[in-house]
């Protein structure tokens, strides 16, 4: 009897809620880990860090009842969706003293016009990462993924919007097209592509490129640069048709239990020195003007990471498609099953 009581108390003791903790849910490879440990030291708040690999996965997790996260990083269109579905807390802007470091061009964006729910974190583009030692052709277009020479060495992102955006751009449509006829065309194109596709993979594809299991992958710019650092035979290119540009944002989910800690963390990430450290590790640009002087030159001057007007024109933001999303999701499930 006594033993059970003891064990019971032990369990209660272990599961007591620790006030000085912060649950962060972010994209994988999207931060400098030393930044986290420094935050823990400076503020005495323990960070528990989980990762995901798509916006839909983030949404699914929140909807399924994982209400325990305090900080999340949805992309632009996902902020709109989450706000509409009352999944986000309104931010206490006044407590974010470092917000002044952000380029005003990025404030009050179309997906959060009153800057109520999100703070811009990073910006990026989608392109193609490939091995120069295994690819003999010049790559300048998404069409390379239909090249039989690279059969079974190709991987696309396991992300519905990214894959369809690529198809739409090849066909000359917008990434936010809502015409079912166009979707059918895109579907046909993508089903044809599956002949050459090894796998739809967002997480492990970088490693597969490094271990030469894959030669060409669809990949985001910063992640590509991260592996380019590890292997000089890897290159990144922006296809001429353009594709998706995104701004990932920091948000606090509704009902977060450590809101104050979350705000301290967000403000911390906006510090110029911290932002610069993160940029230098993950190779994504941030709209943090004060951080720019501390960013490595190779990154600052790289047109892929800090693109100019010309390049940005070819790219589009993903918009929420409302009801039409279900139609697309059905097509996506079918595409994966073919």
């Amino acid at each position: 009897m006594k033993i059970y009581l003891f064990v019971f108390l032990l369990i209660i003791g272990c599961s007591k809620k620790n006030e000085n903790v912060l649950y962060v849910y972010n994209w994988s490879d999207y931060i400098d880990e030393t930044v986290l440990t420094d935050f823990e030291k400076e503020y005495g708040i323990k960070i528990i860090y989980d990762t995901y690999s798509s916006n839909e996965e983030l949404l699914a997790k929140l909807q399924a009842g994982s209400g325990g996260y305090d900080v999340i990083f949805p992309s632009d269109y996902m902020v709109t969706i989450m706000a509409q579905n009352f999944l986000l807390e309104e931010l206490n802007i006044k407590s974010l003293t470092n917000l002044k470091n952000i380029d005003s061009l990025f404030l009050n964006p179309t997906y959060d016009p009153e800057q109520k729910y999100s703070i811009p974190y990073t910006s990026g583009l989608t392109g193609i990462a490939y091995r120069t030692d295994l690819v003999t052709d010049e790559i300048d277009s998404w069409k390379i993924f239909w090249n039989a020479k690279y059969k079974n060495k190709i991987m696309l992102l396991n992300d519905m919007r990214e894959v369809y955006a690529m198809a739409f751009k090849i066909l000359g449509y917008s990434v936010n097209d809502t015409d079912p006829i166009h979707l059918a065309e895109a579907q046909k194109l993508l089903i044809d592509q599956k002949k050459y596709l090894k796998k739809y993979e967002s997480d492990m594809s970088k490693d597969f490129l490094l271990t030469k299991e894959a030669s060409i992958i669809q990949q985001w710019v910063g992640d590509s640069y991260q592996i380019m650092e590890q292997d000089s035979n890897i290159a990144f290119v922006i296809p001429k048709e353009g594709s998706i540009k995104f701004t990932d944002n920091i948000c606090i989910p509704k009902g977060a239990k450590h809101k104050e800690n979350a705000e301290k963390f967000i403000n911390y990430l906006l510090r110029p020195d911290i932002a610069a450290r993160i940029i230098n590790v993950i190779s994504y640009s941030m709209p943090n003007l004060a951080a720019l002087p501390m960013v490595n030159d190779e990154i600052k001057n790289d047109k892929n990471i800090y693109p100019d007007e010309e390049l940005i024109k070819k790219y589009e933001f993903v918009l929420d498609l409302g009801e039409y999303t279900s139609t697309m999701e059905k097509a996506w499930t079918e595409l994966k099953s073919y």
Partner: protein
């Protein structure tokens, strides 16, 4: 009433104390969710996920669309193949172990139990190293000059099936060992004393007597394999998704809970109906199959 009949009464009523908690648990954590599953399978998905309760059969019709049927058939095919190979490889191993004695037997049992108790994911992941384009098999074959370009062994149906076989093998071996262990050796002796060849003895005595173990093994390999999704996820590619992947996708990414529920209902039916019929036909009870 004297104490002993009082105690007798208490003892008999202990039936309810012992029964109720488990009954309660099974009802809350199994029956209730099952009803929920059925209900949701008839519901519709809301725009961003979640479901609203209404009643329609669209999901059921959608699930038997050729696209999904293809995956279901593939899943079933993989499961059958895995089970057969598990049996072909596992039965001899079990046979060998059962007829070993003493410390050697202990060592062999330990060697079979160790993978069983080592983390499943790890064992699956290690095939990456072996099957990769520059992994063990290909590197050795290339350096020996046997082939020029590496075999494509990873991220396709080959790696998935190897992974499935690898993960499930111990589940086939263990019940069969237990079953052969229980065969009275004197029966086998009697058989050979009466002049039967070892093949005859095996096929007509040992094999039939080890049937319970074989059935357990088949149940514990076939059914889990049908619901697999991790192995195709980690080792598979485009050509080797199983129905488990589609179902997981519905819940974790696409957020179409109704459709995911429908697929789950189909899967359960596919498993439970034959099992029920089998139990009915052979008049066994479920726990005798499992033990």
């Amino acid at each position: 009433m004297d104490t002993s009949s009082q105690n007798n009464l208490l003892y008999r009523s202990s039936k309810y104390y012992l029964l109720l908690p488990s009954y309660f648990w099974v009802i809350v954590f199994f029956i209730l969710p099952l009803i929920l599953l059925f209900t949701i399978s008839f519901a519709s998905k809301q725009t961003y996920g979640g479901y609203e309760i209404n009643f329609h059969l669209d999901n059921y019709a959608r699930a038997i669309d050729p696209i999904y049927l293809k995956i279901a058939i593939r899943t079933f095919f993989y499961s059958i193949t895995t089970t057969i190979f598990c049996f072909l490889l596992g039965y001899p191993i079990a046979y060998y172990i059962s007829f070993t004695d003493g410390f050697k037997k202990v060592v062999l049992m330990f060697l079979i139990l160790l993978p069983f108790w080592t983390n499943f994911l790890i064992r699956v992941y290690s095939w990456n190293t072996i099957l990769g384009s520059y992994g063990l098999i290909n590197s050795s074959l290339i350096s020996l000059g046997v082939i020029d370009t590496p075999f494509d062994l990873l991220n396709n149906y080959i790696s998935v099936n190897i992974g499935l076989l690898y993960g499930e093998l111990p589940y086939m071996v263990l019940p069969i060992v237990a079953s052969i262990d229980r065969i009275d050796r004197s029966i086998l002796e009697a058989s050979s004393d009466l002049g039967a060849s070892k093949y005859y003895t095996f096929f007509n005595v040992t094999l039939p007597l080890s049937m319970p173990g074989i059935i357990s093994g088949v149940v514990f390999v076939l059914i889990p394999t049908l619901g697999q999704f991790v192995i195709p996820d980690l080792l598979g590619g485009n050509d080797s998704f199983m129905i488990g992947n589609i179902i997981t996708n519905q819940f974790i990414v696409v957020r179409d809970w109704p459709f995911g529920s429908t697929l789950s209902v189909y899967m359960m039916g596919f498993v439970m109906i034959p099992l029920y019929l089998y139990l009915r036909y052979s008049k066994l009870s479920l726990n005798s199959v499992i033990s």
